[in-house]
Amino acid sequence: MSRPSEFSRRKFLKTSTGLVIAFTVAPARGVRALQAAGAAKPLPPPDAFLRIGEDDMVTVLLAHSEMGQGVWTTLPMMVAEELECDWGRIRVETAPAAPVYAHTGFGVQMTGGSSSTYSELDRYRQVGAIAREMLVAAAAARWKVPASDCRAEAGFVLSGNRRASFGSLAKAAQARTPPAAVKLKDRKDWKILGKPTRRLDAPEKVTGAAQFGIDVQMPGMKTALVARAPVFGGKVKTFRSEKAKAVPGVTAVVAVPSGIAVVADHFWAAKIGRDVLEIDWDPGAGGSLDSAAMWKDYLALAGKDGMKAAAAGNVEAALASAKTKVEAEYEFPFLAHAAMEPLNCAVRIGPDSCDIWTGTQFQTGDQAAAAKITGLKPEQVKIHTTFLGGGFGRRANPANDFVAEAVHVAKAAGVPVKVVWTREDDMRGGYYRPMCAHRLSVGLGDDGKPAAWRQQIVGQSIMDGTPFAMMIKEGVDETSVEGAADSPYLAATPHHFVGLHSPKSAVPVLWWRSVGNTHTAFVMETMIDALAAAAGQDPIAYRRALLGRSPRHLGALDLAVAKAGAAPPPGQFRGVAVHHCFGSYVAQVADVSVEKGRIRVHRVVAAIDCGICINPAGVAAQVESAVVYGLSAALYGEITLKEGRVQQSNFHDYPILRMNEMPRVEVHIVESGEKSGGVGEPGTPPIAPAVANAVFAATGKRLRRLPLRIA
């Protein structure tokens, strides 16, 4: 393992900020999985993550993509906490694609799994600490005093009545050998971490200056739209491009593996050109896909034992002897991510280079895909990660669909090209949250608690057919069963079985904010509510009795319930849910009314135990965001297929929550002091079951098909 002292010879870099601490990026050192606590980890090369300019500006390079979740602020907070710099003099850039920026736990450069903040807590603090020590050492040498007589504060090194700005020390500091070890501050001494901190990307995002992938422009660049198969897996048989080429502004029409690309001077010409393309498609097997038929197949499968995901005791015997049983079937549709920024990717291919500008969550995979298509080496492919106008998992695609396609278009067209997807393209482009069915039989013991729990889950595997397939264990893709197989309710049920069926279809599927928990949390939390009702018990007390060995579930539940307070106003009904995923525990209490068959959510009180909290303002924003995202799916989200065609196309038939439907959301943080967990996703799973449980309280109806509709 490399140590900081083994860094290759440093060199100065001139940048717009002047002279900087910027060493040659250390060569690929492989990637280390997060090691067990206490194990020695090599220190990160600070040059890859930090520059200090002679103008005193501190530039932090992000190994993760900013997609709204706030890494643009939280990662610099970590650096600043140790560096003791001036918070007002921080600049942020996204890092290029390089092995040194690999995720500390996943081993590839990507943003996902709600992990960016906690997985970087050590690395970015170490970067700040290393740089601070080098600056202090430089000042001590300049003043001929011991380093122990110097301290760093607000962008200066101080000793007695002397002081020098970081910028004035940068050149001398970078000539010094980085420390072999650094001691990070105790949490009690934190001045920045743990404090609510406003976003650093706000100024450029309120002026329109922030650059998203779709905003990329360069001399000679064309814009392309691709006509893709109207059904998944379809292929072009023949096409005629004369009419498209006759459209003013259209410069080329080229065939690529995913369809036919119309290349033009601007979006509008490309769109008009695409509208008049004549293509004869071979739909293939995908042409017969039909949601109603798929439901029939899925529910039939749900009647049989699937691959074992979790099991204990003898579930059949225990079910047979149970006096009270609750049976239920659940249906969850495909869901589109529908980020506000439609997919896009700009590519410029040179003789020995390929530059890619896009908002991606998966730099390593995109780089490899582009290298393969262009015949270049991965290091010759430069990824310029822009801001993402929402990610939610769609821009972390192991199939690299929107990037690979754009590289194909640029290669075929022979000019720099930005491929832009229309909203309709984006909505119908697949990579959906898988459609899923669950079937449960639960028998209650004499104490009313679940004694036997049989659950069959049916849903396409996300990992299958991707480089992540190696993570499928004994036929079970964990992303299909997470949240169920590891549920504390099952752990409290002596006899249980969770089975998984993973049918295949032509519809490409992908992780969608909180992944498997999008459906499993709904099943577990509405089932528990139904079991409480069957046992004649209060739903909150019933949960508490089962969560005795899960103190963090309990802590979140108790805080949310306490903050929600007395019963809701007349006409409103209350539902609760609590769920653990991505290292955090979230409980939500929803106050809901049902009028003329319409569900309205008035207030949501959320409590999150995300362990040690880095930016409470960011946590609150993420939980609010997760509630809205989950509520859009709960009330409206549904992608359906008929004769192979996606029936939805835009926000009029795939609605998302609007301002006038926004409930009051209150977020409370459990001070557990535990290890930091994720925050971007864990707020999503509880909202739909909390609302469904409130609908039961209001109407006596158990809604088990999403989106929630009162028939």
Partner: protein, 155 residues
Amino acid sequence: MKLNVNGKTRNVEAPPDMPLLWVLRDLLGLTGTKYGCGMAQCGACTVHVDGEARRSCVLPVSEVAGHAVTTIEGLGAAGLHPVQRAWIQADVVQCGYCQPGQIMAAAALIRIVPKPTDADIDAALSASLCRCGTYQRIREAVHIAAGLTTAGGKA
């Protein structure tokens, strides 16, 4: 044709039915105005035409000739507009993609209704979608902006 965009006269060569959105973005390089849906469903493309909020994705460029178009880049005549300042104060943004449209819609609202109620905000801003779900802070920011505006800042 001649367009008046952010107080400047710009010459563009565009088919008359080309939506203003693409003229702004692809011909004039003003990419702060965003494409979200192309059918006036999401509000990401909101600009001002003679001070009024309009959906530029469905507005043929020929219709704005002779009218004053203001985009997010031109909203703050000198420094940030009070709405933009309020947005920073309330820490509204997340991914940020929809925010230029939200801000333009909010600025048009408080020009007409200097002290908007929550109902006014719902009416004016429900046409602007945010997938990150920043609505609660948008509401707060509009109220802050109304205060900044009436306290002496000029919208």
